[in-house]
Amino acid sequence: MATFSVPGIKVSGLAACVPRKEVSNYDYRWVTAKEREQLVKTIGVEKRRHVEKGTTTSDMCQKAAQSLLEGLQWNTTEIELLIFVSQTRDYLIPQTSNILQHKLGLPTTAIALDISLGCSGYVYGLAVASAMMNSFGLSKALLLVGDISSLNSAYRDKSTYPLFGDAGTATALERLEDAPLMHFSLEGDGSGYKAIMIPDGGMRHIVSKKSFEYKKIAPGIYRTPLHIALDGIEVFNFSLREVVPNIKKLLAFSGQDLATVDYIIFHQANRLINETLRKMLKIPKEKIPYSLYKFGNTSSASIPLTIVSELRNQVQQNDLLLLLSAFGIGLSWATATVEFHKVFCPELIEL
């Protein structure tokens, strides 16, 4: 049963890194000024950050990790596990986690692995990392999570280009005997695999000359099979169908009350979906922070980025109970309740 609790692991630090370059949807000239207004209003993204070509997710995750190691005064030799969660890795092969292991100076005795997940990535990553630590008796781990979706979006695709932003994050996890339990509920449904996909470039449709040909999908939507294809209606229906029941399932399992949760951090899908979910749960706005307006949908990084950009002071100074709800590509979705007690959280880093 994919609903379980992990004892004895705490979040010690959280850092996020975004590119310096800011792009505004009010400057998106592919659509009319009126459409831009509607986009910003409904999708809820006003600005986002775009990497320059050559900067990768792992670069941003590395910077975030280094700031944590420095701030927590952790010796790299102490790190026993590194998990890199991303769908925008450095190379098709080899996996990026080993490259990061090397660049960060982790010992060769550290376990390093990639997990390919997007929107649900942070919660799955937290579950896997904490469970491995608990199971194998590991003391310190780094969970590096992020994506640079901007490079996979076609400019002339008004359903994707204005939505995505780039970010890389790092979470430091540590063994602590009496740490509060982390609770998780993980689910997935591959029947919806086409809802968000890049059709070509993998093994199913090996890249060819045709992969680079732009096709008109709909008015205002032109892309190649090497760009992200997003079925907005499918994703919308899925989110409204699965997210709230999953949250309720987790809380029934953990015995926790939604009212005692300090903040709910949703994956930053878009404003329409997220606000509908908020209303379905009847949660007041103050309990649901957004990073969507300033940073866009940052895929796997969206939950940790939202905590750093919106709750930095609160996680550093207080003992908080956070509910994390992630959902999207796969289709894959997950909920977790995690206590953040005076977590080291440096200011947002820019690269």
Partner: protein, 80 residues
């Protein structure tokens, strides 16, 4: 909660601020009432979900012509 179409119309007016209050009637062909596009369809579907906990989809909207048509679908799926 008893469902009533005037209340539904009021909720639509609340959601779409370009609609002049009082203009939308049960017989109104909703696609002609304002700038209808796929984003507006999603906004309407979202409103029906949060206000009535009823799921309508793009197909339901394609088959509907008037506000009353949509309201009838909501009524048929509404549970207390």
């Amino acid at each position: 909660m008893a469902l009533n179409i005037d209340d539904f119309i009021k909720k639509i007016e609340d959601e779409f601020d370009e609609l002049e209050p009082g203009k939308l009637k049960p017989e109104s062909a909703f696609r002609q009432m304002f700038d209808w596009n796929s984003i507006n369809a999603l906004v309407l579907i979202a409103m029906v979900k949060t206000e009535y906990n009823v799921t309508i989809n793009a197909d339901d909207l394609t088959k509907s012509k008037t506000v009353k048509d949509i309201f009838k679908i909501i009524e048929s799926r509404y549970h207390e």
